[in-house]
């Protein structure tokens, strides 16, 4: 394998590097998602999602992405996938559901893509 010709400035297709810029943008959203580690917080969120967004100071872009449950929008709003996984978990979505949604596939198609990667 050759590593010398790698272009260190070219964007990586379909990938958002979660760096300081994203961390600043997504802080409130990620903090809310981190709170979902606790069952009591998940219940509080489900009782009144809008009040919960306010409690953590989400901006309108972040609120709308949460309402729509669109993972690519949540990432664009600064979400980090490790924390977003906790948000997805509230709706019983696993990493294959999340992968299928982001790639525009059915869950079965997405799982097949993973199997095909081993061939």
């Amino acid at each position: 394998m050759e590593f010398d010709n790698f272009d260190h400035h070219a964007p990586i297709e379909g990938t958002t590097i979660f760096d300081g810029e994203q961390a600043m943008k997504g802080y409130a959203l990620n903090k809310m998602c981190y709170s979902f580690n606790a069952a009591s917080s998940r219940e509080e969120y489900l009782t009144d999602p809008e009040a919960y967004y306010e409690k953590f100071g989400l901006n309108e872009q972040q609120k709308q992405a949460c309402r729509d449950k669109v993972v690519l929008d949540l990432i664009a709003a600064g979400g980090n996938i490790y924390y977003l996984a906790k948000f997805a978990g509230i709706f019983k979505l696993d990493v294959q559901d999340v992968g299928a949604q982001q790639t525009g596939m059915t869950k079965e198609q997405f799982k097949q893509k993973l199997v095909d990667a081993g061939k």
């Binding site: 790698f6 990586i12 590097i17 760096d19 981190y34 580690n37 992968g99 990667a117």
Partner: protein
């Protein structure tokens, strides 16, 4: 003096925790993955290490973005897993070895690694799943070693370089070998291999790159340090950066190692899953 008897690696996918709980060892989906573990379980039964240093990456349970340590070392009497939002059944605590933890912390800082010490640390699937895979019934396996968790940041860039991870392992080797008690230590590197959960490239797995990493980590880990972090994201996927843990483990084993057991299977969940047992060669 303490001796390092081996290094073991495993992926640490959350779904594995549930599959262990549901005993899906012979399920056709899971079997090729679980079959990689009995030889290492047997080796651990035969060698009975006193301490397992578990190098993993926290996924947003022990640490949040408010304070994100690049390298954190547990120094607690015991370690508990907690609710991760969707996670695994809660287990009894894993026993720690705080005296050895503080020896390691002292030695690492002396060697210019400015680590974060943790007298409390909630451990997530990254720590727990490999314990369950290598010591069935953990933490109640009769041979359960005391444990010291070490977590490296892969949640937020800048993450450590592969060079730094390997050097960390080499300094950790020095720390372990200078511990005055006659104990046997095994070092675990958990996480990876290639996978990506986020973005339009979700589901990316790179078999060729994983196999290259599994070969070079045995024969020439320094060659892997030529890979930049950005390149690692491109070749291993955004979460494939967890390979850093394997590099940290590798550094503890000295220059020459022998691969005693290797298994690789695609896919488990969204991941190329790798398992290895390495023994140092004097």
């Amino acid at each position: 003096m303490a001796q390092i008897i081996g290094g073991i690696t495993s992926s640490h996918i959350p779904a594995v925790g549930n599959a262990v709980h549901d005993k899906k060892f012979d399920d056709p989906y899971w079997k090729p993955f679980f079959d990689g573990y009995p030889p290492i379980q047997k080796w651990l039964e035969d060698h009975k290490p006193d301490v397992a240093i578990n190098i993993y990456n926290d996924h947003g349970l022990g640490f949040f973005l408010d304070q994100m340590p690049t390298f954190a070392i547990g120094a607690a009497h015991e370690y508990k897993n907690e609710d991760e939002g969707w996670g695994m059944p809660k287990l009894d605590p894993f026993p720690g070895d705080p005296k050895m933890s503080w020896h390691i912390i002292e030695s690492m800082v002396e060697d210019h690694f400015d680590i974060t010490s943790c007298q409390e640390l909630a451990v997530d699937h990254g720590f727990v799943v490999p314990m369950q895979l290598f010591w069935p019934g953990a933490p109640h396996n009769p041979d359960m070693p005391r444990t010291i968790p070490i977590s490296a940041n892969t949640v937020q860039h800048p993450i450590p370089t592969l060079r730094r991870a390997l050097d960390f392992g080499r300094a950790l080797r020095k720390a372990i070998l200078s511990y005055p008690e006659d104990i046997k230590v095994v070092v675990m590197g958990t996480g990876g291999l290639s996978h990506q959960l986020d973005g339009e490239r979700a589901g990316f797995i790179n078999k060729e790159f994983d196999q290259y990493c599994m070969e070079k980590i045995v024969s020439d880990p320094d060659a892997l340090t030529k890979i930049s972090r950005r390149e690692l994201v491109e070749k291993a996927g955004a979460q494939g950066t967890e390979f850093l843990m394997w590099m940290m483990m590798r550094g503890t084993l000295g220059d020459k190692v022998k691969a005693v057991h290797t298994n690789y299977h695609i896919p488990i969940s969204n991941t190329g899953a790798g398992t290895m047992l390495l023994e140092p060669v004097a």
